[in-house]
C-alpha cells in the first residue's frame, strides 16, 4: 500500500470537526500533486498521546512503510505543535518526526523560536508532508491557507541569506507575523548532519532532518498571519500569569538562563572531570571556555514566542561588519562543548565563530561536531590517513581546519563527503570497521551533549535508552549533579517517585529517575513546553505535570490528572519503541559506546570510573520492568495490544 492509500485510509477515520475549540487541523500535503487534505487528531489520541511529539508518533505509526527507506518520498515528514504551544508562556515548541536517514531509527526533533506557535496561529496543529515535489518548492501558509511558489531562486541559499531574501520577497516581519522552517545547502546536498532551521539559530536538529526535508524538494515552509488569542472552555490567562511568575521566580531562570543562557554547565562539567574532550578520550579542558569568558561577546538575549525567559544569547565578536560570521546567536552549551573541548579548541572567539557558521550552514552542531571529532581521533590513531582525507592533515585544536571542513561538508566536497555521512561513514565504506570502536553514538546517532557520562549512571542509562538515539534531551536526570538534591533523600524520593541513591556514580534505583524524567519530558514535548523550563530538567521548581494538567483542562476541557499525564508520557515512549521495533531496534541497541565500558575516566575525583557491563545490564533490565517493557525493550503484550487498539481504532 503506497502513502496515498495509507493517507486516504487514515483520513477516512479521522474526525472532520475539532475535538476542542482551539484545536488546529492536521494538513496532509502531497508535495508531488500539491493536493492538501485536512482532518483533526481524534480525542482518543489526544488523551493517549496529546499533540506535538505524541500525535506526531500516531501519524508516523499509521503511515510508516518500513519496507522502504528513510529518504523515500512515501516516508512522511511530520511537523506538530503541542496542545499548549503558542498559548502558555515558554510553550513555544513543536516537533518534527519521521524515519531518520542518519540513525535509521525514529527521527524526532524539537524546536522553538516562532514557527510552532505561528503554525497554530494559522489553525494548524500538524503538517504531514509526503511525495517529492517535481521542482524545488516554497510552501506558504497564509492565514491558514496553503500557497505555493517556485523555490528555484532560493536553492543554494544558506540560513542568513534565505531569511533576508524571504523577508524581502514576502514582506512579512520575523517574530511579528512571519516564521519559517527551511533547509540550507547542506540539506539540499543530503548531508546527514544537516538540520531544518527554525530561526537564526533554532534548529530541528537530530537524525538528518535537513536531508529528509530536502529529499522532498521542499526548500522552506513560511507562515504568514497575525497572532490572536484562542477560544477555550475556561479562561487560561490567569493561570498563565501564575506560570510566568513561577518561571521568573525560579533561580535557575533568574540567575542563569535569562542572563547568560546554557554555557553555564561547561564549568561544572569540566570540574567534575566529565567534559567530553577530544572525542571523549579525555574528560576535562581549559577554563578559557567558562561562561564568564563569553560575557564580553554577548550584547543581549533573545527568546521564543511569548517566552518570558529569553535564554538565547546573541553574540558579537566586534569584528569588521563585512565578516558575516562576526555576530550571531548562541552558542549553547552543546555547541560550546562539541566545538571546544571535543575538537581540542581552547579559543572562545573561535568557538563562537564556528557556532555562527553552523547556524548559517544549517548544521546540527552535536552531530557535526561529533563527526569531526570522530575523524580527528581516527586520524590521530592512524586508522584513517591522508589517503582517506584526500591530503588533509587532521589536527586537534585547529579552528581554521574545522571551518574549512564545515564548508566542505555542506558541499560534499572532498573529505567533506565523508563527514556528510555522519555516523554512517563505516557503513558507506569510507572508514574501516575498526573505526566503530571510537564512534560516540547509540542507535546510529552521535551523542547530543558533550557531557561524558561514565560517572553519572542515570545519565548513562538515559543515553542508552533514548528512543531517537544518544540524546540527553529525552530523559536526562540533570539534577544528579545537584548535591543539595542528592543530600535530601526525602525530597529526591518525592521527585522521582521512589528512593534513588544519592551517589551519582551508583547504579542503585537510577531506573526510577530516568523513567520519571522520560515521562515528564515526553509530556512536555507533547504540550509544547521548553525543556529548559520543564520540571526536573534544570530545576525541581519549574512547571511540571500539575501545571500542564491544569492548563490542558483550561485550554481543551479535557481532564487529565498529573498521574494520567505521567502515563501519557509512558505511552509516547511505548509507541516510539513499537515504531523502532518495526525498524529492527532491540535490546542490543539500548547500549553505550564501547569506550565508556572499556576505558576508565582519567581525571578528577571520579578517576577510574567507567560503566560496568554487568551492572549496566541489570540496570537496563530494571528499567524495562518499571517501564512495562519486555526484556527486548518493547511494550509488554497487554499494553502493546492496548496501544495498537488505540492507534488503529475507527
Amino acid at each position: 500500500m503506497g502513502i496515498r492509500d495509507r493517507v486516504a485510509r487514515l483520513l477516512s477515520e479521522l474526525p472532520k470537526e475539532p475535538q476542542y475549540p482551539a484545536q488546529g487541523r492536521t494538513l496532509f500535503v502531497d508535495l508531488e500533486t500539491r493536493d492538501v487534505q485536512s482532518a483533526y487528531t481524534p480525542r482518543r489520541i489526544l488523551e493517549t498521546l496529546l499533540s506535538g511529539r505524541g500525535a506526531n508518533m500516531f501519524y508516523l505509526y499509521r503511515l510508516l512503510d518500513e519496507s522502504l527507506f528513510p529518504l523515500h518520498p512515501d516516508i512522511p515528514l511530520i511537523f506538530g505543535s503541542g496542545v499548549l504551544t503558542g498559548i502558555v508562556p515558554s510553550a513555544a515548541r513543536g516537533n518534527c518526526t519521521s524515519w531518520a536517514p542518519e540513525s535509521g531509527v525514529i527521527l524526532d526533533s524539537n524546536c522553538g523560536d516562532y514557527f510552532p506557535s505561528f503554525l497554530r496561529m494559522n489553525g494548524i496543529d500538524h503538517l504531514v508532508l509526503y511525495g517529492r515535489s517535481t521542482q524545488w518548492s516554497l510552501m506558504i501558509i497564509r492565514e491558514g491557507e496553503v500557497e505555493w511558489r517556485d523555490a528555484a531562486p532560493y536553492v543554494g541559499l544558506d540560513n542568513i541569506d534565505m531569511r533576508d531574501r524571504i523577508a524581502a520577497d514576502l514582506g512579512g516581519v520575523w517574530t511579528r507575523d512571519m516564521s519559517m522552517v527551511n533547509v540550507t545547502r547542506a540539506g539540499e546536498n543530503g548531508v546527514l548532519t544537516a538540520g531544518i532551521m527554525g530561526g537564526p539559530k533554532a534548529i530541528y536538529a537530530r537524525g538528518g532532518t535537513g536531508a529528509k526535508m530536502a529529499s522532498l524538494r521542499l526548500k522552506a515552509i513560511v507562515t504568514l498571519g497575525h497572532t490572536h488569542e484562542f477560544p477555550t472552555p475556561h479562561p487560561y490567562k490567569p493561570y498563565n500569569r501564575q506560570i510566568a511568575q513561577k518561571l521568573l521566580a525560579t533561580s535557575v531562570v533568574k540567575h542563569a538562563l535569562s542572563r547568560m543562557g546554557t554555557p553555564f554547565l561547561y564549568r561544572p562539567s569540566r570540574l567534575l572531570g566529565a567534559m567530553g574532550t577530544k572525542n571523549n578520550q579525555e574528560t576535562t579542558w581549559t577554563d578559557a571556555l567558562d561562561a564568564e569568558h563569553i560575557d564580553p561577546y554577548r550584547p543581549g538575549m533573545e527568546g521564543c514566542f511569548r517566552c518570558p525567559v529569553n535564554c538565547r544569547p546573541r553574540n558579537d565578536l566586534h569584528r569588521d561588519p563585512s565578516d558575516r560570521y562576526g555576530r550571531g546567536d548562541g552558542p549553547e552549551y552543546v555547541t560550546l562543548g562539541k566545538f571546544g573541548p571535543n575538537l581540542g579548541i581552547d579559543d572562545v572567539e573561535a568557538v563562537i565563530r564556528l557556532n555562527n557558521i553552523c547556524n548559517d550552514l544549517g548544521f546540527d552542531t552535536a552531530s557535526t561536531g561529533s563527526a569531526i571529532g570522530w575523524a580527528l581521533e581516527l586520524f590521530q590513531r592512524g586508522i584513517i590517513t591522508t589517503t582517506h582525507t584526500r591530503g588533509l592533515e587532521l589536527r586537534w585544536g585547529d579552528p581554521e581546519l574545522v571551518e574549512k571542513l564545515l564548508f566542505m561538508t555542506a558541499e560534499r566536497e572532498g573529505f567533506g563527503a565523508v563527514l556528510a555521512e555522519g555516523t554512517r561513514a563505516v557503513e558507506r565504506g569510507h572508514y574501516p570497521s575498526e573505526a566503530l570502536k571510537y564512534r560516540m553514538a547509540v542507535k546510529g546517532l552521535m551523542q547530543s551533549d558533550p557531557h561524558d557520562a561514565r560517572i553519572l549512571k542515570a545519565f548513562a542509562l538515559g543515553l542508552a535508552v533514548a528512543t531517537r538515539g544518544m540524546d540527553h534531551l529525552r530523559n536526562r536526570v540533570t539534577l544528579e549533579i545537584n548535591a543539595k538534591i542528592n543530600d535530601d533523600p526525602a525530597f529526591k524520593e518525592q521527585l522521582y517517585g521512589g528512593p534513588v541513591s544519592a551517589a551519582p556514580n551508583s547504579y542503585v534505583d537510577k531506573e526510577l529517575a530516568v523513567r520519571r524524567c522520560e515521562n515528564i519530558y515526553a509530556v512536555g514535548d507533547s504540550v509544547g513546553m521548553c525543556r529548559f523550563t520543564t520540571k526536573l530538567f534544570n530545576s525541581p521548581s519549574l512547571p511540571g505535570l500539575e501545571e500542564f494538567s491544569a492548563q490542558i483542562a483550561n485550554v481543551t476541557g479535557f481532564s487529565l490528572t498529573p498521574e494520567e499525564l505521567d502515563h501519557v508520557g509512558l505511552n509516547v515512549m511505548g509507541v516510539e519503541r513499537m515504531i523502532n521495533h518495526r525498524l529492527g531496534v532491540t535490546r542490543k541497541d539500548d547500549t553505550l559506546p564501547d569506550r565508556w565500558f572499556d576505558e576508565p575516566n582519567r581525571h578528577g575525583a571520579y578517576k577510574g570510573e567507567r560503566i560496568d557491563r554487568a551492572e549496566f545490564d541489570a540496570l537496563l533490565s530494571r528499567f524495562y520492568r518499571i517501564s512495562n517493557l519486555t526484556e527486548e525493550g518493547i511494550p509488554i503484550d497487554s499494553w502493546r495490544r492496548e496501544l495498537e487498539a488505540t492507534m488503529n481504532a475507527d
Binding site: H255, P268, E332, R476, I485, G604
Partner: protein
C-alpha cells in the same frame, strides 16, 4: 590561612576570605552567611553547589572536611541543549 570562597558572577563574582575557623562545608556556609548576610538566602538555593580545590561535590556535602587554604567555589549547576 583563610579559606577562600569564590562567588559566581551572579552573586558578585568576588573572592571572600573566611578567616574564622571552619572544618566543614556546613560550617563554611554559616560563616559565609555571617560575613555576607545578603548571601544567606542564596546559599540555600538548589542551583548553587560547591567545588573544593576544583573538585565538584555531588553528594555528602555538608560534612565535607575543609582545611586552611582550601579554595571553595560556589558553582551554579544547570543543564543545556
Amino acid at each position: 590561612m583563610p579559606i577562600s570562597v569564590r562567588l559566581p558572577a551572579m552573586l558578585g563574582g568576588e573572592v571572600v576570605a573566611i578567616t574564622e575557623r571552619v572544618e566543614t562545608i556546613d560550617q563554611l556556609v554559616a560563616a559565609l552567611g555571617r560575613a555576607r548576610p545578603e548571601l544567606t538566602g542564596h546559599l540555600q538555593d538548589t542551583i548553587f553547589n560547591f567545588a573544593v580545590n576544583d573538585e565538584m561535590l555531588l553528594h555528602d556535602v555538608a560534612r565535607r572536611p575543609l582545611q586552611d587554604g582550601d579554595v571553595v567555589e560556589i558553582v551554579p549547576a544547570i543543564s543545556g541543549g
